[in-house]
Structure formats: structure tokens, C-alpha cells
Point group: D3
Chain length 242, copies 6
């Protein structure tokens, strides 16, 4: 009853954050959760969308996408199909909501930060890797704006991390790779801040409906995983980059 | 600190199910949660999507939409814009997943049921009203197919109901109307089956992140609300219609 | 040679107007022509489209759509297809033109009224029911604007009603339900004002081309039907609503 | 009170049909109604749309479009906008319905003829010129198919012609150029067959609603105009082309 | 080894320019390269795109399209498909770049000229015919603007012509019709100005890759063809039109 | 008059090929031309597009795209805009044509290889880097298919490489970074095979038209650059990967 990659049930995959992966955006992080690789870029620009002009408040939004070559069998390109699928919409909205929880709009002032999360390789947990990496890119972008003197206060109110949990063959497990994800009876994505509070909880019965006891076990695993990720984010941000 | 409509914090709005509202679909229910009105139609057809042909298994899918005139200020028509928004996609997917949890595909055989949930008037909780009403329409459609001798077994494995809960001014409340929904710090939609197990849990920190204690209080309220809705669904289905 | 529903050849189906069916729009009417049900909403807003700004003139436009569940067999959703079909475009334009004939743009001032006509159940004559019901919703919206003091003069210059006529098995008949409509050799939709003048005449030979004599018989029937509808509209508007 | 181009009120503009204008389609006619120029091509192919397969019946359909440079001020290209406008849809459908009235589907057999009507220059009456020219192209395409031995019987059951009429400054007039069209109080397009029966009647009150007497006067003018066009079509088809 | 139409290998097809083919645009030319017919319209308007406002500079852009009936077998309409194909995009961009090389933006001032090149009949070389004809339409439009006193200086800095060349059965040939084009091993489109300098060179190995010697032979042929076309353009523009 | 990065005028930027960058596609190469980074994936699948079925021949196609975060200032996502731009179409077609020149369709058999070239960072020359990297990915995919026994013969007939050249301040230069590209008077992309023959030549006068002498100088530079790239490709493919 051990995991294919030898991990304990409450253990994350190897996590790496490569900061400044790209030259152009204010923040750019290649995050890896095992074989899942997501390029998270935080692009900052002066000004806000029209409906927010003159408010004195900033804005943060996100777009998630997957390269056709990222998946097991090649997937069609959404630009070629001419429309974005429901799954992509759903995840983009989740990332945006999650990261906005990290931000004090007033301290950001009328600046916009767009978080582009492009999955270069998918092996389960792409949305949670995207949120976790996007926070590091966002922190770098905020530091960049501060260094430029573009901000009056501190817009980062907390860190944000996310992890997937699920029940496989009756056993609750943390940070599911693709081969566990497809077999999970129940699947949950949890987003938390650095202080251990919940930002988003999304649980789905893929097979049989789940009990309150199972839900509680999954929440406990997720709390453990998010705490680990929070620590790794802080370590990554504390390490100077070239 | 009382609610604007005089309800107790753990009390549903007046709920009505008008069955056979339309003549054409196999099941058609106008569901009302207070002033929220959703027309739920279950259209049955022989055959399944191409990727499922020859499997012997049926299929259930859902589409959610809102009339332009349903909201406080008129909203643009998605057919005119030429694309479906992320929110619509997200809710259609949620309704489909939720109702598929009610179904034994094998007993349904190679038949497809499409659930159209069209919001005629919106006052908060449209997605949970849609799920709750769609179950009643689905049950009627299944009964219709059985009466026609189109089914071998019983495809309905349980009932499905959904409700919204949220924290307003620090107080957990059940079944939020629009004016409470916009003020909620935390907002959760919970889908459960008739046996009291969870099908879907979606909680979002609209304002401040929420603690595990708050999450537990919301889950308890939702369990209460779904149990009440389950009873009302069974009563509605037990009443003969003209 | 009698009609399936027992009506005389020059007799309308039972007609009902349920005003204030929705809470949000300035005017909202559920109109029924027999089993055909159309929800007509008149939403008013300050301002006009860009090409009309500064003219001092108002604007009225219309959008027609059909629920997937409204028809005999479920029809695909135009928002999902990503484009509006020719028939929908054609009818939306007809409704807009017809109702604009009721309006004095100058007295309306720079206000816009959008008429949404959503077919909830289709049994023939949906476009003529939509026009007839939209007039009642428009009258309610205008009354609403006047009560708010938003108008200087009286923008309603006349009432507008519409009816379908056709030749079935050689016999001219008024207000065709679906089962007559599909069998009609010639099919005509006529829009008239309350003074008995023509706003729009659209006649189509579905089977054999028609003679001038047949055309004259159909026009006479339509004149009778529109006069009846005009009377029913005025009665509906004269009845107070809760 | 004379017309700008010196015509009598019941007189057509100079009408020309240039057959075989293009080399590739089975029928190709450049039709001119004064300065209005429409290129009408009839492309024949073996087979019918899927929904008609195996019926033994043929199909005729039409597409209408306008070059950006055809109008007074350049209009945007619908392919660039990514969607076809309501007016284009409406006219394409009208042309298709009108020409289908000329055809015996059984004698056509499972062949499809597509009528492309592309307006190269617009000066009013483009839809009626398109229908009138498309008939000549259709006749040439049918002759072409017969010469190839592709048809068993005679699919052409009658000729089809169309003309616009309108009331300008209170005077009914035939075949309106653009400068009369924009000033018309009432505007009517009438499609007739060679035997003098009606295929389509579409009358619209552009300004004030119109009386039954005015309607009758317009219908009489249109009957005169269509008879003239029918004669010109037959002359054009009787003249050999190089 | 002679050409099907009897031409020498370095000889153009019969070339005609019919100026003022349409009444509305500032310049309108029907250009024919043998059986290839392209209608080139130059529409002038005051003002420039937003990104160029206030610069004092003009703008020239182009759109290329093909009638469905222009080709051997009918092609689908891009407006109906709802998207422009890659080939259309590519050619529109090529025409725009080529003609912009003829223009001094400063002398044009903040005016825009749109070049619409609509292929009425295709027999190879439609893009090169379009560029060559568009230059004549552009020259007419510029003359029109000058006659109106809308220009301060002379915006035309040189003429522009284009021709196709290719290697068929090992022999380099000028101005390929369709039946040669499909058999060409190498295919090149060359755009030059009236002074004999290159504006654009696009060579493609359709079959085997080509040597530098073959490339040089094709460039020499193209130089000859463009010189001939330049002379014909100047003759056409020197001839008064009615 | 030296280059900003210290290179000689006929010198390439540092070129690297990282093979097997992704796990899923049959070939995956991260190619770098200086700071330009393109991820090239070659995905193989059994079968060919419908129009090629039963021919016994294979197919190779390409799609090019750019991450929003790849450019100096963030660019909009084409999937969000709902349409692919002309530039993207043009480059995708160029890459496909270029790589098809490397392939013997008969030896490939009825297999399809899709080449996805996603620009992760742009600093000039993205299309030429994409072609050069795509060849290496294609070679790896072919080797993979051969190792699987899926191929009878050798489908690779030659290698393919591409480079940009341009004239900056009157000086011809090889392999332009962005800051040289925007200043180039003339800009040319050249695709060649490993035997030194031309596959595609695309030269554009960005500023003034160019003479035959300048064209010859650019072609010579490109021949030198492609020879260098060919050598580097062979070295990369000769090095074993983990």
C-alpha cells in the first residue's frame, strides 16, 4: 500500500522554485512539483481596468493555460479552437481569487499585476503548483515595484500556497501526481495563507460521495501540506538570485 | 442583528417546486428559493456522445444560463457576445458533476439526459437552486423513461440537493439572498446526497481568510439545509401533478 | 374540416398577459398565445448608443431567443454554438422595428429601452406573441419612467400587435399553432398599430406561390386578429397589478 | 415631382444580364439594375447536405455578401469581424427561399446548387437584383447539368423575379435607387414567379404605418415590375453567349 | 516544351487595368492577368488608427479576399466560417507592406487609405495581380485627394509592381497560371518598385530545395517582369478615363 | 560600429539545444539563440488527417505561439482574444513548410508529427530559432518511432536550419537580436537544408527598398549562418542524453 514514488502519504513531491527564469516580467518563477512544471510570470503595469479607474485601488488577475505538449497525449491549442474551455476558465478564476487574497489593493495603488501561469509539463496538481509559484512571482514583482519607488506602502498582506489532497483506495494522500489523481475517489484543492487560514476549499466526489470524517482527514492533510509549502516559499524568497 | 426577511440564521427561504411547467421536456420544474426562480428541464434522448458509444453506459450533462432580464441591472446575452463567460462554464460543470452523482450509468443504458437550468430571476443562490430543482426534473424524466419501458433497472441511486451558506457580519447563515451574498466575508456552496454525504464543497474567502472553526460551522449549517431540501424534494415528487 | 383545438378559422387562441412577472425590469410580461409562452422584459437605462449621443433622441432595440427546452425536441443553445443563427437575427430585427413604430424618440429623450423576448415554450407564433407581449412590457416601462419623472412628454404614439395567418388545406386561418404552421402552404406575419395601419407584412409561400386573392383574404384575417389583440392589450393594461 | 433619373414612377432602371461572367461556376451572371451590380454564381455539386441524404431530393441554398468597397462609405468586412450580421443572414435566407420556389427537388435529384450573390456595387435594391440575377444563373446551371446528362427530368418549374417598391413623398414608385430608398416612408420587396403568383411579400413602414390602400397600390406596381423583369430574363436566356 | 498558352518563358500574360470600375471608392481598378481578375479598391478616409493619432503621419492597409465562386471548385466563405484563414492573413499583410513602400506617410498626413483586393476569378498569381492593380488604385486615390486639396505634398514616392516566377520541369518561367503553379518545383513572388529595387522576395521550395543558381535565374526573370508591369501601369495611368 | 553584444557581423549568438526537456512528446528540445528561448515539441501519432487517409503517406504540421510573458511588454493571449493573429498564422505555416522539406512522406507512412514551437522568451529571431530547434525535435521523434519499430524506411531526407540576416546602418549582419531587428532597413529569413540548398527565402524592405547587390550580400551571410547551425544541430544530436 505504498505510493509509486515511495513518498509517505503526507509528504510533498520535491518542490523547486527557479526565480528570474525569464528576463522581461517583473517576477518570473519556474515552479516544479515533481514532474509538474509551471512557468509563473507576474507582469506589472501602471493603471487599472476601466471599471476601477479613479478608485486609488490596484488590481491583480490571472490567466492559466497549458502547452499542447504538456500532457500525456497532445492536447489541442485553445487559440486554434477559438475558444477557452470551461476548465481553463475555472482555474484562471481560482488563481486570480487566491492571489488577490494576498494583496492590499490600497497599498498597491492604481497598478495592475497580471499573473500568467503556463503549464510546461503536467503531472497532476497543475493548479495548486500554479498558485504556489504565482505567489513567489508576485512577491518578486512587488519587490521590483518597491525598488522602483512605485509603491507607497506594503501591498503583500500574507503569503499564499495551495495543495491537492485526495482519497486513493481509501487512504488520504497529499499532493497527487497524475496517476493517483485519476484513481482518486475524492479530490480536493485547498488554498491557504501563511497564517494557516483558508482562502479556498474545493472538494469533489469523483467516485462515491464522501463523509464528514473523510472531509476532516483531507483538510488536516492539506493544512500540513500548505504549511510545508509556505516554509519552502519563504526559503526561496530569502535566497538571493543572480 | 436579524435578517432582512425575518428568517432565522439556519432557515431556508420559502421553497417551491412547480413540476411539469413546460410540456415538451421529459421533466420540467420551476424551482423557487424565495425570489430566485430557475426553470430546470430534463430532456432525454436515445444515444450517448461519440466517446461513450458502445459502452452500454448513459450520460448526464447540464447547461446553466441566465436571462438578461433576470438580474438587477440587465446583463448582456452570451449568445450575442459570441462566447460563454467563465462563471457560466463553471456553474454548468458544477451542476453536471453534481447530478451525475445521482445516477447509475449502467441502469440508464445508452440514453442521454441534458439538464437545462435557465435562471428567470436571480436573487442569490441560483446555482444551488438549479441543482436542487434539476434533481426533481431528473427524477421526473427517469420516471417518464421507465413508464415508456426504455430502462431495464433503476438509474437513480440517491437524491441530490444543494445550498449556499456564508458568514455575514461574523454570523454563519443559511441560503443567502443577493443582498446577503454581496456582503458575505466567506461564501460556500455545498452539494449533498439524500443520505447526508458530500458531493461537492466549494468555499471561498470573499473578504478575510477563514478559520477551521468557521469552516466547521458553515458545514454544519449546510448539512441542516440540505436535509431540509431533501425532505421538500421528496414531498414534491410524492405529490401527483395534473 | 374543423381545427384540432375546435376554434373558428378567424378565432385567436386563449391570450393571457401576466404583468410584473419579474421584479427587476421596468416592464415584464409573460404572454401566452395558447401553449406558446414568451417572457417579454423591457429594461430601461439612461443614455443611448454612441452613434446617437447628443441627438436628444431615445432608442428602442430588441433581442429574441428561445430556451433549448422550449421546443418539441431540445434545440442547441446559441451561446454554446458561439453564434446566433439567421432565424434569431431576423426575428430580433423584426421585433425591434415593430416596437420602434410605437415610439416618439424625441419624447423618450436620451433613454434606451431593451426588449428581451425569451420563448419559454414554443407552439407556433412565437414572433407575433413576442411583439404583442413586448408592447405591454414597453407600456409598463414607459409608465415606470414617467412615474420617476424621467420623461418630459409621452413617447408612446400607438399600440402595436402582431398575428400569424396562413392557408391550410386551402383554408385561410388565424393564429396558427405549430401543427398548423408546419402544414401551411402560405404563411404570413402581420404587425399593425392600434389605429389599424400596417407596420410590417411578411408573407412567404411555403408550398405553392399564392395569388392576389389569397393574399387579400389573409390580410383581412390579420386585420381582424390584430384588432382583437389590440383590445386585449388595452384591457390588460387597464387592470391594476399587485 | 419627377424622379432624379428621369424615370416614370412605374419604370425600371436599365437592366442588364451579362452571362458567363466567370469561367468556373456552372452559371455566372453579372446583373445590373442601374448602378447596382451583383455577381450571381450558381455552383453545382453532386450530393446533398447530410440531413437530406438518401431522400432522392436535391437542394438549393444561397449566400449574399457585399464587398467593402461596394457602398458609399467603405463597410467593414464580415470575415474580419468574425461574424455575419443580421441583415446579411436575412437576405441570404430570402434569396434561398425565393429560388427554391423555382425548383422541383425530385427532378434535380441528389444534387446541390449554391447561389453566391456578391454585391460589387450598391445603389439600392441589391436583394431584388440578386434574386432576379440568381434565377438566370440558376437556369444556366440547370442547362449545364442537363447537357452533362446529370438530370433525369426538368427541375425548373418557373422563373423567379423580384423588385422593390416604395412610397416617396406620398408617391408609390418602382425599383428604388439608394437616394429614394433612404427617403421612403414605406418600403416593400416583392418576389413573384413567371406566372404572376407571389413567392414572398415583405413590407415595412420605415416612417409612418401604411394603409390598406397604399399596400394595394404598392402590390400593383410590384406586379408590373416583376412582369417586366420576367420578360427581360427570358430574353437574356434566349440570347446565345460566346 | 512550350507553354500551354503559347507564351515565351519570360513573357507576361495579357495585362489589363480597367480604372474607375466602381463609383464609390477614391480609386477602383479591375486588374486582369490573363484569366485572373482582381477588383482593387482604394478607399480614403480622414484620420488614422488610434495608435498613430497625433503623429502627423498617414496610414495604408490592405485586405485580400476571394469570392467563393472565383476558384475551380467553390470554396467556403470565410465570413460564414467565422474566421480568416492563414493564407488570407498572409496575403493581406504582404499587400499592405508592399504598398506602404510606395508612400511617404508625412506627405499623406493623417489620412488612411484601405486597399481592398477582392479576387473575382482565380487563375494563379492572384496576390501579385492584387499588388500590381492596387498600386494603380492607390495612385488614383492619391490624385483624388490632391484634387480635393486634402494633401500638402506628394505621398507617392515610387510605383510598385509584383510578379510570380517559378521553375516548371526545370525551366524558369514568368507569371504562372494555375496549371503551371501547381506543377512548379519552386515558386517565388517578387515585389519591386519602379526604380528596380526589391520590396519583397518570397521564394519557396514546393518540391526539391533550390540552388543559388536557380535562385539567381528566378530573380532575373522577376526583374524583367516587374519592369514590364511598371511600364504598363504608367501607360494605364497616363490614359484618361471617362 | 561594433555590435552591442561584441559579436562579429557574421557570427551567431551562443546556440544551445537542450534535448528531452519535456517527458511526454516523442521529441522535445529547448533551443536558445542568445536570450531567445523556444520550446520545440514533436508529438507523433498514428494516422493522418482525413484528406490524406489511405494514401500511405505521412504528414507533418506545425503550430507557433508566444507566451504573453515572453515579450518586452506583456502581449495579449490569442486564446483569450478568440482568434489567431496574422503573424502567428504566417509563422506556423512557414515552420510547417520548412520541416516538411526534411521528410519523405512515404517512409513516414500514415503517421502524423505535430511540431509545437512555443516561444518562452523573445529576443529576435524566434521563427528561425523555432525552425532550427524543431528539426532537432523532429529527428528525436523519428528516432523514437524507429526504435518502436513503427517505421519501415528512413523518413529524414536532410536536416533543416534557419537564420535571420539584415542590414543595420548599411552593414549586413547575421542573427539579429531584437534591438538590431527593430533598426534593420532590410530583414531576411532564410531556411536551408544540410546540403546547402534553399528551402525558403523571405526578404522584406522594412525601410528603403534594397538592391540586388545588398540581396546577394545577405544571401551569402545566411549561407554561412545556416552552415554553422547545421554543424551545431549534428553535434547536439550526436551527444547522448540522460
Amino acid at each position: 500500500m505504498t505510493r509509486a514514488d515511495g513518498r509517505a502519504d503526507d509528504e510533498l513531491r520535491p518542490i523547486t522554485f527557479t526565480r528570474n527564469w525569464q528576463d522581461h516580467p517583473a517576477g518570473s518563477v519556474l515552479v516544479e512539483f515533481g514532474r509538474t512544471k509551471v512557468l509563473c510570470a507576474a507582469s506589472a503595469s501602471v493603471g487599472v481596468p476601466r471599471w476601477r479607474k479613479g478608485s486609488g485601488l490596484g488590481w491583480v488577475t490571472a490567466e492559466y493555460a497549458m502547452l499542447p505538449s504538456a500532457t500525456n497525449t497532445r492536447s489541442d491549442r485553445e487559440s486554434v479552437k477559438g475558444r477557452i474551455g470551461g476548465r481553463t476558465h475555472e482555474i484562471s478564476r481560482l488563481i486570480g481569487r487566491s492571489l488577490r487574497a494576498a494583496i492590499d489593493y490600497k497599498a498597491l495603488g492604481e497598478n495592475t499585476i497580471v499573473l500568467d501561469c503556463d503549464v510546461l509539463q503536467a503531472d497532476g496538481g497543475t493548479r495548486t503548483a500554479a498558485i504556489t509559484g504565482a505567489y513567489v512571482a508576485l512577491a518578486d514583482a512587488v519587490a521590483h515595484l518597491k525598488a522602483e519607488g512605485a509603491l507607497a506602502g506594503e501591498p503583500l498582506v500574507s503569503s499564499v500556497a495551495a495543495v491537492s489532497v485526495g482519497i486513493i483506495d481509501g487512504v488520504p494522500r497529499l499532493d497527487l501526481p497524475y496517476e493517483e489523481d485519476v484513481r482518486a475517489e475524492t479530490d480536493m484543492n485547498v488554498v491557504m495563507n501563511g497564517a494557516g487560514a483558508f482562502i479556498e476549499v474545493q472538494g469533489t466526489a469523483e467516485g462515491a460521495p464522501f463523509s464528514r470524517t473523510e472531509l476532516d482527514a483531507l483538510l488536516a492533510l492539506a493544512e500540513k501540506g500548505c504549511a510545508d509549502l509556505t516554509r519552502l516559499q519563504h526559503e526561496a524568497l530569502a535566497t538571493p538570485v543572480g
